[in-house]
């Protein structure tokens, strides 16, 4: 069952529809409701390997529906600590719960200051309104 539209206000966003939840010197990353709604039901998550470095603004993986494929653009730089195995196994988890069970990866942050370049929920909603 697909989730209904929401954008939690405790998350940070980028314009490519990825979110980040900062937890100390780590962050959890995922994609927003808008992204999964545009793609449709996800059928595949191509994750990075644990330990791999990811760089803000670059692709760290892909999600696919039947008819579309989308790069995952890292909102923050760091090193992959954990990949959500549940999403690898059941990608539709992202459609069902994009901000909870449907998180994608956990990273150790490379630069604590990068977060200041991200959008808060109001700014992200403005991006959506303009697209």
């Amino acid at each position: 069952m697909a989730a209904s539209e929401s954008y939690p206000d405790d998350l940070l966003y980028n314009a490519e529809h990825d979110w980040a939840r900062i937890e100390g010197d780590e962050a959890v990353l995922g994609v927003t409701w808008y992204a999964v709604d545009s793609l449709g039901e996800l059928v595949h998550f191509e994750p990075p390997e644990a330990g791999a470095p990811i760089a803000r603004g670059n692709s760290y993986g892909e999600v696919e529906s039947v008819k579309a494929v989308s790069d995952l653009i890292a909102p923050l730089s760091g090193e992959v600590v954990e990949v959500n195995a549940k999403v690898v196994d059941a990608p539709e988890t992202v459609n069902e719960d994009p901000y909870g069970e449907g998180w994608l990866i956990r990273i150790r942050l490379a630069d604590a200051d990068e977060r200041h370049s991200l959008l808060d929920v109001d700014a992200y909603r403005k991006v959506l309104a303009e697209s």
Binding site: H44, E64, S65, V66, K67, A68, V69
Partner: protein
């Protein structure tokens, strides 16, 4: 012109509905400077009867009546009549890619059955819906290997069909791959040579049976590749796979091959189909279409194109290949032929090839000709020295109604006096005796 329906009245009504005065006006967006102001300078139109006569006259200028021992990648295997009957069904012949599954269950299920047949033949888990021919699928496999291993060197045995090697070389330049050829030793490839060269290779490609018809030590070649972390890729003849072990059963990662032997006329080199099958782990890297099984809303089983996000129309510059039009109709022919043969017919066809081929070796040896690789087991083809320039021998033999084989000097140094002789199940002992007679020194 009988291929169009519009009458002058139709045209007038249609122009009026569009709101233009003439057909010329429909082309008003074409700038004057690029309009072609003349009649096309092409030969005049022909009626169907005239067309038939013209093409029959052209065909008559080709020599096909000879008893042929020419193979070298294209083989004179029998194509059953049922294959033709199925291919002439307009619903198969005149359809395109099954993008709309509700209207295309026929071809989708046929491709699913074809994929199954190819997997069974090769011992692999997954097959695509076909590639252009036996050369391009080898190049496709290199692209898979590059992506899978992150390496950029391809090893290919010298005893692999020269057409395949040439195409792999052409594609390799685009792919940014270096191609290294591994020489043969006495007609087959030494696994130690492969092991020595395979370090940091993305793939090792070998042919079984190889271009000389000899059986390679295929399991050892695959092992040498696998030990080096390269993908082992076997180029195989479907007709041989009733008798010879399947590449998937001796450790290969990918099996490719030319499908012509199974179901296609030779037709001066095409169209045919190339097949490409692989281990399950490579499924997302495969080029081309793949059909998968699913259900409709009522729970009825049905078939769809699947994993399309690999393909050019979705992934564009990051696609696993640019292929779109493939060789479905020829692959369908292959499926029909293999379905008629069944495991027993396939085995018997292979046995007939081997038995007749051995008869031919004996017949030629008894006439004093020398086999080039006398101690090797061969399948349906073998190399024999003919005592003088083989191209001249071909010319002389053809004057006697026999095409005796392929002059290996066209591709290999030091083999100017050597013919590659192919013997399929269609040859008879009488025809082989004639071959021996015309090749007799």
């Amino acid at each position: 012109m009988s291929y169009i329906s519009l009458t002058p009245e139709d045209r007038e009504q249609m122009l009026a509905a569009i709101g233009v005065a003439s057909i010329e006006e429909l082309f008003r967006d074409v700038p004057d400077g690029v309009r072609y102001g003349r009649e096309l300078a092409v030969p005049p139109a022909l009626s169907e009867a005239e067309l038939t006569r013209h093409l029959e006259e052209l065909a008559a200028k080709n020599s096909v009546g000879e008893v042929s021992f020419l193979g070298a990648g294209m083989y004179d295997h029998y194509v059953p009549a049922v294959v033709d009957a199925v291919l002439q069904r307009g619903e198969f012949l005149t359809a395109y890619t099954p993008y709309q599954p509700e209207l295309s269950q026929g071809v989708l299920q046929a491709i699913f059955e074809y994929q199954t047949a190819i997997c069974e033949l090769t011992g692999m888990d997954v097959s695509n819906a076909s590639g252009y021919d036996g050369t391009t699928v080898a190049a496709d496999a290199c692209f898979v290997a590059k992506a899978e291993t992150g390496r950029s060197r391809i090893l290919i045995t010298e005893a692999t069909n020269p057409q395949v090697r040439q195409v792999v070389n052409t594609y390799a330049r685009g792919f940014g791959l270096e191609v290294v050829e591994v020489p043969h030793d006495g007609g087959t490839t030494d696994p130690a040579r492969v092991a020595a060269a395979a370090e940091e290779a993305a793939a090792v490609i070998f042919q079984q049976p190889n271009f000389f018809g000899c059986l390679e030590p295929a399991p050892e070649l695959a092992e040498a590749a696998n030990d080096a972390g390269a993908l082992s890729i076997a180029h195989v003849d479907p007709v041989s796979l009733g008798l010879l072990e399947a590449p998937g059963n001796y450790g290969c990662s990918i099996a490719v091959g030319e499908g012509q032997s199974a179901g296609n006329a030779i037709s001066y080199g095409g169209p045919h189909y190339g097949f490409l099958a692989a281990r399950e782990s490579l499924i997302r890297r495969l080029p081309g279409r793949i059909v998968g099984e699913t259900v409709d809303a009522a729970g009825e089983r049905g078939y769809v194109l699947t994993l399309q996000t690999r393909e050019q129309h979705i992934r564009r510059e990051k696609a696993t290949s640019n292929i779109t039009t493939n060789q479905t109709l020829l692959a369908l022919a292959g499926l029909v032929h293999l379905s008629l043969l069944g495991p027993q017919g396939l085995r018997e066809t292979g046995e007939a090839c081997m038995a007749l081929s051995q008869y031919a070796k004996n017949a030629l040896e008894s006439r004093g000709l020398e086999l080039v690789f006398p101690n090797k087991t061969t399948f349906k083809e073998f190399a024999v020295r003919v005592g003088r320039n083989a191209r001249e021998v071909v010319r002389d033999a053809r004057a006697h109604g026999v095409n005796p084989g392929y002059p290996l000097g066209r591709d290999y140094e030091g083999l100017d006096d050597t013919l590659l002789v192919a013997v399929t199940e269609r040859r008879t002992t009488e025809e082989i005796d004639r071959l021996a007679e015309v090749l007799s020194p």
